[in-house]
């Protein structure tokens, strides 16, 4: 993951573990008129989702929705320095405010650009679905690619020549030409997994010269390894049911969090692509939404119990939770972003805040 490059470079340069400045305890996100509601009598709430680091700041998507999940205004990127907490906004909605609604993910590319998929009203037919490109140095929207009708973008990964996203309506991934933003420079690629009722693409990431796509269904899940230019399938492996997120490790392996059975799958790439469930969460945690990695430390979020976990992947006897943080009733933590191997912040969809994790470590 490119976002880890800078901290690790600092780590190597200083000869010791990188330590980020402590984040602010809780950062309130913009509300009301700051979110430019279409109808001032029915404003939305920030409803923060994806977190990413770029240019020394943290960026978070604000879906700007009402309580009934309707879009109340344009999508936003909010950015801040975690140790400072002052929040600024980038309006992703364009001149008419309707060019991007309901942004979910935000990912940084190798060249430092940010890409944000906007899901619109989930109908697959509205004009508010897009991939928006943001320059984090200037904090402006630089380009926008409209999503072809019938698709709702989910996940985003920028490779050298393509910008890939998944379809929440089907199990295909599709691309835009990185230079021209033309849709479908190669044909959409099926990434199926066994299902009983539903299946969709949960996420796509670019990692170690490959494109990775996660198919999630009510009963299963599959991780696909794809060619980053053509989308040709290089391999696939079954993971747990209803996977929601994945992350790359610095040793080339990947981890996938499976919401269906509350487990983590560890995926080895060589000698062959293989997956093994290495951790099962307690029965009190559920709705696992995110997983990130910092070295051998994993960070996860269990939205239904308002908690985040810090997991030592290399602990004796197998992966072990070495810290857990509670963000309080109704917080709804959604994404987590490690600032170093101990500190992390989460986006709370319920309370519309960014909160620092205070780990309870037990004995």
């Amino acid at each position: 993951m490119k976002r880890l490059a800078l901290p690790f470079a600092l780590l190597l340069a200083c000869g010791g573990p990188f330590r980020a400045p402590p984040p602010v305890e809780s950062i309130a996100l913009p509300a009301g008129s700051q979110l430019k509601p279409y109808d001032s009598s029915q404003p939305g709430k920030a409803r923060p989702q994806g977190l990413e680091q770029a240019a020394g700041r943290v960026y978070v998507t604000l879906s700007n929705q009402r309580d009934d999940f309707s879009n109340a205004g344009p999508g936003f990127l909010a950015y801040f320095v975690p140790s400072v907490g002052t929040v600024s906004l980038i309006d992703l909605g364009g001149a008419d405010g309707h060019q991007c609604q309901n942004p979910g993910f935000v990912r940084a590319s190798a060249d430092g650009r940010l890409h944000v998929p906007c899901s619109g009203d989930f109908s697959g037919a509205d004009g508010a679905r897009a991939i928006v490109e943001v320059d984090p140095l200037a904090n402006i929207v630089t380009r926008r690619a409209a999503i072809p009708d019938g698709r709702v973008p989910n996940g985003v990964a920028a490779t050298a020549n393509r910008i890939w996203t998944g379809d929440a309506f089907s199990t295909t991934v599709f691309a835009f030409d990185r230079a021209t933003l033309a849709a479908d420079p190669v044909a959409p690629v099926p990434v199926d997994c066994p299902k009983s009722v539903f299946s969709y693409v949960a996420d796509v990431i670019a990692f170690k010269n490959d494109l990775w796509a996660l198919c999630g269904s009510d009963i299963s899940g599959a991780l696909y390894r794809l060619d980053p230019d053509t989308g040709a399938v290089r391999g696939q492996v079954i993971v747990g049911p209803n996977p929601t997120e994945m992350a790359g490790l610095d040793d080339g392996r990947l981890v996938v969090v499976n919401a269906g059975d509350s487990t983590i799958s560890l995926v080895a790439v060589s000698p062959t692509l293989s997956a093994q469930k290495v951790f099962t969460f307690s029965s009190q945690n559920g709705a696992l939404q995110d997983i990130r990695a910092w070295g051998h430390i994993l960070f996860t979020v269990a939205s239904a119990f308002n908690t985040a976990q810090r997991i030592d992947l290399d602990a004796q006897g197998g992966p072990k939770v070495v810290g857990e943080a509670s963000f309080g009733a109704n917080s709804g933590p959604y994404n987590i972003l490690p600032l170093d191997d101990t500190q992390a912040i989460v986006s709370n969809r319920g309370t519309n805040t960014i909160a620092a994790a205070h780990w309870v470590t037990g004995q």
Partner: protein
Amino acid sequence: MPPLSALRRYLIPFALAAAPLARAQEAGEQGETIEVQGQKPSGSPRAPAAAGTVVEGAQFGGEIRSVGEMLLAAPGVSVHAMGGPGQAATLSLRGASADQSVVLLDGIPLQGPGGGAVDLSTLPATLLDKMVISRGVLGAQFGPGALGGAVELVPRSGRGTWTGGATASIGSFGTALLAADASMPVGQGNAVLAVQGDRTDGDFIYSRQLTPEIPGSPYYDFTRENADATRGSALLRVSQELGADLGADLLLQGSAGSRGLPGSSADPTPLSRELDQGGVAGLRLRGAAGDLGWSLRGSGTLDHIELRGVSAIGDCQDGAPDCPREDQRSSSLRGEGELRFPLGEANAFDVLAGAGAESVDGAGTGEHQRGLLSLAVRDDVSLGAGVSLHPGLRFDRIGAESGLSPSLGVRWNPSPPLTLRAAWGLSFRAPTFSELYLMRGGAVGNPELLPERAWSVDAGAEWRGSLLTLSASAFWSSYRDLILYQLFPPARVKPFNVGEARIAGVELQAIVPLPAGFLASLSWSFLDAVNRSDGHSLAYRPPHRIFARLARRGDSVEGYGEVSYTSSFPRNNFDTAFVGSQLLLNAGAGLRVLGPLWIDVEAKNLLDNRTYEDVFQYPLPGFSLAAIARARI
């Protein structure tokens, strides 16, 4: 990170909560029916070969019991209580879902506002004489929907003299109850009028871990908020003999309530409320002509429910522009005729024909109606040597859906204390209005739904001696086309006919009269519920449930102690998350202090375990006390 997963956290609990809103489980010679009091059985004549249990309301005199709590005395029953007193509770028979059990009040089918599960908390326990639980796929006997069985609520009946009673109680969490009933001669018959009012603040303390992944993580205490409930109910039942072989019965029952909807422990909803009003009316003419018995009945139900401060994500401020109130009305009207006549000496036929309509109207569902038509025939065939056969066949049409519900039962009394029985049944459940049409928050209806279908076979034995009554049943049920709410990418949940399950089990019940007015009872239910599509256990079905009770009734002293145990059961569909086992100890004692006046004290959850939660993380109360005064003349 995908929008879909953001919804997952909210939509499934919301859909489950919304579903109940709009729609989130015999006499003498009949059936293997055991009265919990150990008296002569008096169960439903509709299901003579079915496994059954009669729970007498009088058994719980001097105790504060909801309908759900009383039902737990029977094997094969589990009750899903979403929190403390006054909060919603639904019934499951033999592992079937709440929608798959029929609840009848004096023979009139009840249903939730959207046509689904009945909220047991809206049924006033003091207005009932007894409850008859019949288990199995009993569509032929009770109509479509009885895939787990049926519960017949038998209201208080009048007597030919003036009698009456009153109960008042006060207890923990601001809980109080007032109930009174009077029976009187009226005209050529009698009447009974009963009323009940109850309320609770529901502000009990519960404990939960905030960091459950950490071994030994501490529990923190919280006070339950917005769990208050207030309810008033009334029942009028009038019976008149209009001639030598002609009689009429009128039943009117109404209930109105208001309660907070407190939400789960992780996501409390202090601003959400629910108001409901409901009523049942029935008029029956009954008569006889020689060997022929007949009855004609007209009945209707009317329910209204209103949600305030409820949103898809949690609660919201009632009255705000983006927080509209949501209400829903549902009603049904039925006419039914029944003939019972012998055919020769060995056959007793029962023929039933009915028609009617049901409707729903609400912001979430829109306005819909559908017709109801039913034709049924049952026979009780005596084969001699103590053997009887009980075949039945029922045809139902509900809107556009039609289905047949056949059944066959056999009983054998080889010697007086012992009865053996076996039964087979097949039936269906039509989708509820909610499942078909409900659009609320992220939930969408599915008009393409097909009926659920099930069949079951069971066998049992009963020993009914003077020193011991023992009953044992084993069953095997198969379900297909089960309607389950599933995520519907990219951003909805929607019901589909995707479930396929097998549920097998064993039910045991023993009742032992003891000296000095004591009575011991024990029931054990075992369930093996399997998702047939993947072999995993079905979520939310406890494999074991044990209920044991020792009670004494007397002229001046009474008391009881009981144990209720529910084993750990799966919380998800993959056998990786579980709700922990729960053990509740309750006890009470009372004295007759003056004339007919009794004073009782009751304690529940004596171990004061405050960590119990239901499957949706709704906390359950810890230790509670209640004082009860009652008199009956």
